[in-house]
Symmetry: C2
Subunit: 228 residues, 2 copies
DNA sequence: GCGATGCTTCGGTTACGATCGAACTATGAA
DNA sequence: TTCATAGTTCGATCGTAACCGAAGCATCGC
């Protein structure tokens, strides 16, 4: 009975509501200070500090000191995937805190998931990439095709650069609001970054939602069509 | 801060050591009674009973009454995958309770993972199926090829039957002792079942390990060769 | 230097949940 | 029927961890 990895430890880390809220906030991808995290956790800074220390000791978070601020982020993408997969699992069982899916329509439409695009627009983009033959799907896996590599070059994404990182190029990530897959991995990140760089969309201050400009919206829908 | 699925709830369910031990025992795939689960959890039956009630209320377990026994199993494969993914995550962070990987060499060699083969033999089988062109791998996804369908027919597995179930045919499952993927899904289950039916291997009473007979061992290694 | 801000550490309180003994229910066997 | 086994429910204990106020560092701006 004592064999194997200790899942109770990380389960307990995630099992506290305040800590869970902090982790959920951090899959927004941006680094947050201890005070901000105390806010999302609904607790005082003292309490948050001890929670954050535990999460860091457990290897779920890393902190970066910058002046008199301490910025916390998820330790790596594996943590984000774990949290997301638990969210997907919980959503599938109806363990929702309020409505099914994100409350605000904006969140449901487009939001950030660690560092890539999720929500309605996220699944639409992946669907379109598959339909156009840029990405092939086998089982739950995703792979970039030669055609896809060319197409991406046209919109300014050099896949060669992405390959050099150890991180997988394409990854499927289950969207818990749409209950379908969207594109993660370094390619997912690069695509979202390019939208932000082009000014098609921007992140909001306090939320995970992504706001598309009217022009960006038009461009996005044209670039990633879905046939009826 | 209140949006989204409640991961704290299931985190807390898994976060208790006694409950985590029970869940880990149940990914062995066989139904266990409350008394047996109390044993693996290292607690009395009264305590186990309350734990099991909570796990059932949380949707992680289902129970089946049979005479004066109550047999508990994981609610479905999604629970098994969640536990396994948490094990993989924990193993990657070095959150081990004792040695890295399973303690007994037998467990490391071949063990059951919910309903399919894991351990050294599990990853070997998948490697061999990919090398022979029976299964194709794209990203993290797995798909059965036409050649594979024919090959499987030869060893007595009718893929058509498997397709009728809603469960995915091929699924990749991260092996936490080998740190590599092995084959899950209904095909993984069917393959293990056939080994057991043929008498090549048998399950052990109290452990997750799978014991191959000398003849079964020979057949298995011949059927799933790996080139150097 | 000074005060203000961000965060951690300390100390003490509180509450929840894990635990078990004992009593109770249900099924099976004699 | 009676006894034994399997399991749940009740009641009470106990420990731990979450929590916050207050004090202590560290860093910034002045």
């Amino acid at each position: 009975m004592k064999e194997g990895p200790d899942i109770a430890q990380i389960g307990a880390l995630i099992g506290d509501p305040a800590r869970a809220n902090m982790l959920a906030a951090l899959i927004g991808g941006r680094a947050l200070t201890a005070t901000e995290l105390a806010g999302v956790g609904g607790i005082t800074v003292q309490t948050a500090s001890t929670h954050l220390a535990k999460l860091e000791a457990g290897g779920l978070l890393t902190q970066r000191k910058q002046g008199r601020h301490r910025y916390f982020t998820l330790a790596d993408e594996a943590v984000a995937r774990l949290i997301e997969s638990m969210m997907g699992f919980a959503a599938g069982r109806g363990h929702l805190r309020h409505q099914p899916g994100p409350k605000e329509p904006a969140l449901r439409k487009a939001r950030i998931c660690y560092d890539h695009l999720a929500g309605d627009y996220g699944v639409r983009m992946l669907d379109s990439l598959i339909a156009s033959g840029s990405i092939e799907a086998v089982g739950e896996g995703l792979g970039l095709t030669e055609k896809g590599e060319g197409d991406l070059k046209c919109i300014g994404i050099d896949v060669g650069d992405l390959r050099s990182s150890r991180r997988p190029l394409c990854r499927s990530c289950l969207d818990w609001s749409e209950r379908r897959a969207h594109l993660a991995g370094s390619l997912g990140k690069a695509l979202l970054s390019s939208f932000l760089d082009k000014g098609w969309a921007r992140r909001t201050a306090e939320s995970r939602s992504i706001l598309f400009s009217p022009e960006g919206d038009r461009q996005f829908l044209m670039l990633f069509p879905v046939d009826p």
